[in-house]
Symmetry: C2
Subunit: 311 residues, 2 copies
């Protein structure tokens, strides 16, 4: 199943981190924006074209040292259907470069509708007998509030096309505890959701001990990350919240197993806006992103054993 | 806030139902599909164009007797960015005809990202100083698993632009109980989420007793619908699951208040595929949709008091 391909990319690059491509227009260097504004005026199309160029330049610079990207759907939808076209083109470009693509959409719905989301983001869409890839990511983040009905159609796509999902378990935001930390009997809501991930995942086990059903567990809650790592041995973690949101490398190390696997840590703004932090020439933004990917990788692996396939 | 405009549309049409535009290509009559296939081949673009024509014909026939449409994002994403363009054009077309548009996206994320979703679906996007409507719905369905951080940015848009949201409380699907029915102390997860809706809604109260924060409660669970109606006096309900999913008019009546307000019932397949059920000429599909909207309205209001603004 799909986590296998992610794990192989991680071992190859010795880098358990993913770059979140959540490109607000304000993150894009002026020289790119001005060029597009000149050509398309100040329109959603101009914004979408600027973001696509920005993304491609970053992918060009990092694809050999970073296993995956995680485009956040919200930041593309914000620029309308033109923005969504850029999401599609970003996904395709990163895949051509060998990267694993996790679309961060946190989709959720009843079964019949999840079939549509599953086709949209992971599978193929039937148009009068032609089977066409609508977005074609390798994995999708999802919300499990609706239970199994909303997950099963995704598992079908995972089996058919070797794809994966990441279910929200304990999110990185401040108010995540309002519901997720409440107790159902003696178990929290997030741990209950974690158990469901293990159950759903048993249908789509991969060859390195992890299933196609991963979980989102925030870097901002290292204790819960350790708790979930112990409780969910077959569930690969997507760990957001490193850097800008406040999560540190020592904390995120608690999401990993003894082979340095079991988790991938996301950074979005840290990488996209590295050129602003460095105060380098904005023409140099993609190289600054590469430098930050390397810095982040070194930071994270300094707390881990050497990353290796399990025996 | 935005539920006021929805309530005004409901009172005007004396119709507390919404048509779900969830158009799988197989629902679209052959003569429309063939026309588009001829022009654009069997592509996502052809599918998107066929669906747009289908939607517009239905909107033309029902806008005077139906207060709202609810396009389901999944069925547009399924056809890629071309499909998402059809979502945008459907929203704009229905609004021009005076309908209230609820985008069913069940979006959810951390605060910074919810700002992007809120701008995308309810507010405006800034492009170098120009403020542009990306999708421009009147309301959006959302998932509250992440707590207040993920809701507050939406409330800002509700205040600024007179918009609304519907939070998933008790969904209509079979497995909704796997998480939602579990008990936190002596309260179910769904009732806990319901309480949050009342709390969030207190910031965006409208003039007819309902706030801008509604809740999704399924027609397939009439008991829970009655329970939530009693517990959440300021929360307007979006009630899916009538018809194809098995919910009946007597059951859904439990979601309403003494003025025949407080809920709006969705039907998707029942209306879109009415021409198939009637076995009428497929050229007549939009008129069949109109007949089904009238049948459904009569069915639902037969269990309700006359719909009227509160004293």
């Amino acid at each position: 199943m799909s986590m296998d391909r992610l794990i192989e990319n991680i071992v190859k690059t010795q880098n358990p981190s993913v770059v979140g491509l959540d490109p607000k227009l304000e993150y894009v260097p002026e020289f790119i924006k001005e060029k597009k504004f000149k050509k398309y005026d100040r329109t959603l199309k101009a914004a979408a074209k600027a973001i696509l160029e920005f993304n491609k330049c970053i992918i060009d610079e990092i694809h050999d040292i970073c296993p995956a990207i995680k485009p956040q759907a919200a930041y593309y939808e914000m620029y309308g259907y033109e923005g969504v076209k850029t999401l599609y083109k970003t996904i395709q470009y990163a895949k051509e470069k060998g990267m694993f693509v996790m679309t961060d959409g946190k989709r959720n719905d009843i079964g019949a509708t999840m079939e549509a989301y599953a086709a949209a983001h992971l599978g193929l869409t039937d148009v009068g007998g032609e089977k066409i890839e609508a977005f074609g990511a390798d994995a999708l983040t999802v919300n499990g509030y609706l239970g199994s009905d909303g997950i099963n159609p995704l598992l079908e796509q995972c089996k058919l096309y070797d794809k994966g999902i990441f279910v929200l378990v304990k999110t990185s935001n401040k108010s995540s505890g309002e519901l997720q930390d409440l107790k159902i009997g003696d178990k929290t809501v997030y741990a209950t959701m974690g158990d469901m991930c293990e159950k759903w995942g048993s249908e789509v086990m991969g060859k390195y001990g992890y299933s196609g059903v991963g979980a989102v567990v925030g870097a901002t809650y290292p204790e819960q990350l350790a708790e979930m790592r112990a409780a969910l041995p077959h569930t690969f973690f997507l760990v957001p919240g490193y850097g800008a949101q406040g999560g540190g490398a020592e904390g995120v190390s608690k999401g990993f197993d003894k082979n340095g696997l079991g988790a991938i840590v996301n950074s979005s703004r840290g990488v996209m806006c590295a050129y602003k932090k460095e105060e380098c020439d904005e023409q140099d933004f993609a190289k600054a992103a590469r430098r930050e990917v390397i810095r982040m990788k070194e930071d994270i692996i300094s707390y881990l054993p050497r990353i290796a396939f399990p025996d």
